[in-house]
């Protein structure tokens, strides 16, 4: 994984427009958040391999980055993205890692199921 370069990400988003894509979208505090600190509210959510299509998408912000994808009937939105997988050319794999390197958020798009 490499730190996000928004121009690279924008290019990749544009290449995925108007196609059926499998999405993995996730956000998590980790299952141990409340065990370690009872003031924390543990939350995690993911959707894996749902099929979407977007007509228009962009990356925004100065880092961590936001991504918004406009679909026929709604939006995909993700904030806090810091890294992407530079070696994967077919798929767009992005994640947000906190200061300890732990994954907080992930947004992945692929023509094939993950």
């Amino acid at each position: 994984m490499q730190p996000i370069d928004p121009s690279v990400i924008q290019n990749r988003i544009d290449n995925l427009r108007d196609r059926d894509l499998y999405i993995h979208l996730e956000m998590t505090t980790g299952a141990y958040a409340a065990h370690r600190d009872s003031s924390k509210h543990p939350a995690a959510t993911f959707i894996s391999n749902a099929l979407i299509r977007f007509s228009h998408g962009s990356v925004s912000g100065g880092g961590p980055f936001r991504v918004g994808l406009k679909m026929p009937h709604g939006w995909v939105y993700s904030e806090g993205l810091t890294h992407y997988e530079e070696t994967d050319s077919e798929r767009l794999i992005m994640a947000g890692h906190d200061r300890e390197g732990k994954l907080v958020v992930a947004l992945q798009l692929s023509p094939q199921p993950f």
């Binding site: 995690a44 794999i93 994954l103 907080v104």
Partner: protein, 218 residues
């Protein structure tokens, strides 16, 4: 007397801190040990420092780490059951129980290690322990193995009291450290060693004892 050991835990690395030294002792005694790991921990948040894994590559990386950990402990029979991380509590219970029952019938363990249901923090831990005691509870009383549970919930003393099996595992700390270090995407051993405390001393203080609660079926 030879014990036949079956370990049922949901995530690669669940074995490392809680019972890897105990399992190394079983191996040393010649007890056959089977470790059935339900998932590949594919939803883990730790990707290494700096991150060398991602959501897509993590399952294969953790599978290799699990195999390395088993080699370090001396476990030769590792079964990966193919469930998905975070979903054990939502799985079809009949399927889950049937998989566990098949292992019990095949291996006829005398001792089973798992998580104590309700006192093990992660929903996958609790659901795995619940499935294990549910399935073993269906066996005739005289065929049930001893079930030794890991537990680490903050409220466990009020609920299940003190562990009744406490083992000094100093003799097997080397295997334990190697098991923990095998899971390099998940743990950074260097972070535990502060300044002038040597690794072995830090390990002894932190990991020199393993604790279990015997599950009571009645």
């Amino acid at each position: 007397m030879e014990q036949r050991v079956l370990v049922l835990l949901p995530h690669p690395d669940d074995e490392a801190f809680g019972l890897s030294a105990t399992l190394a002792e079983h191996v040393r005694n010649g007890d056959p040990v089977t470790y059935a790991c339900l998932t590949l921990g594919e939803m883990g948040r730790n990707m290494g420092v700096p991150p060398f894994a991602n959501r897509v590559t993590l399952p294969e990386i953790r599978k290799a780490e699990l195999e390395e950990s088993c080699r370090a402990i001396g476990i030769r029979d590792l079964r990966m059951l193919g469930y998905h991380d975070k979903t054990i509590e939502f799985e079809d219970q009949d399927k889950l129980d049937a998989d566990i029952d098949a292992l019990l019938q095949e291996l006829r363990p005398t001792t089973v290690y798992t998580f104590y249901p309700g006192y093990s923090v992660h929903p996958d831990h609790d659901a795995t322990g619940a499935a294990v005691v549910r399935t073993i509870g269906r066996l005739p009383r005289n065929e049930r193995p001893v079930v030794l549970c890991l537990a680490f919930a903050n409220n466990l003393e009020q609920g299940i009291g003190q562990p009744d099996v406490v083992r000094d595992v100093s003799a097997n700390l080397k295997q334990k450290l190697a098991s923990i270090q095998a899971h390099r995407s998940q743990f950074q051993v260097a972070e535990w060693v502060s300044g002038d405390v040597p690794l072995e001393k830090a390990m002894q203080e932190r990991f020199g004892t393993e604790r279990f609660w015997t599950y009571r079926f009645d």
